[in-house]
Amino acid sequence: MEANDEINELVGDIWGSVLGIPATPADSSVRVEELRLTGFVHIQGDWEGTVTVDCPVPLATTAAAAMFGMTVEELTKDEIDDALGEITNMTGGGIKSMLEGSCKLSLPTVIEGRGFTVNVPGAALVTDLNYSAGGSWISVRVLERVDETGPTSGSELILRTGA
């Protein structure tokens, strides 16, 4: 199985099985003008990089309502951030499990805003996957840290296949 297929399956499981919001691969990309949440987790070790999960605030709110078993009106901002943080953690953890070698996952961070782009200094975008979910969109990106000699892994083929 290709790495992107594994990530597609992972994202489908998290949004579909856990949240009851089916997510299917789509051609769309991040719509920077929308008010959105972005979750980050960093991976350090034999492979170093960052996994980001982006989605509009209304979809993150729907996901949080599903997680907490509450209505969207009852949710606080902290709960919505917590939900996207956990979604990011599950996504990053799943991607980490596809990596060769020994790595550690950071705690998640979540930011909210519109019109911003995400740059991780010293990292290059290696995977950019987009999904349609709940009438909205999700973006999952993997950025790999690079040094003067190239990616920390020495190869972009670090993702295990068939895992």
Binding site: V18, N89, G92, G93, K96, L105
Partner: protein
């Protein structure tokens, strides 16, 4: 199984684990929660749960540090990880430290029933 302590820094995940436990048939007993390893250590000493389900990656005291602290003080409570990081290496570390199992996120009620058992 009567008392389960759920340890996770994410309130959302504690709720999901709690809901999944009920779906898997473990809803009859007390389902308690702790937000990190340090809080869990105090709760375990006080409440003596039958099972601890812990996240791995948490602030203050993480899951493996909690498990090692428990075993170091002679506490042999049933202990399993529920974590997004279920690599072979982590599984080996968990088992060698005294964990009974490691459940990867995302999970289902069937996963809980199969792995946790009676």
């Amino acid at each position: 199984m009567k008392n389960v302590l759920i340890v996770d820094d994410s309130k959302a995940m504690r709720m999901i684990v709690s809901r999944t436990l009920r779906q898997a048939g473990y809803g009859d007993g007390n389902l308690r929660e702790a937000a990190d390893g340090a809080e869990a250590l105090v709760a375990i000493q006080a409440d003596k749960p039958d099972l601890v389900l812990s996240d791995w990656n948490m602030p203050e005291m993480n899951g493996i540090e909690l498990l090692r602290a428990l075993r170091a003080e002679g506490n042999d409570v049933r202990f399993g990880f529920v974590t997004s990081e279920s690599t072979t290496e982590m599984r080996e570390v968990a088992i060698s430290a005294g964990a009974e199992f490691l459940i990867g996120k995302p999970f289902t009620a069937e996963d809980f029933a199969d792995i946790i058992g009676d």
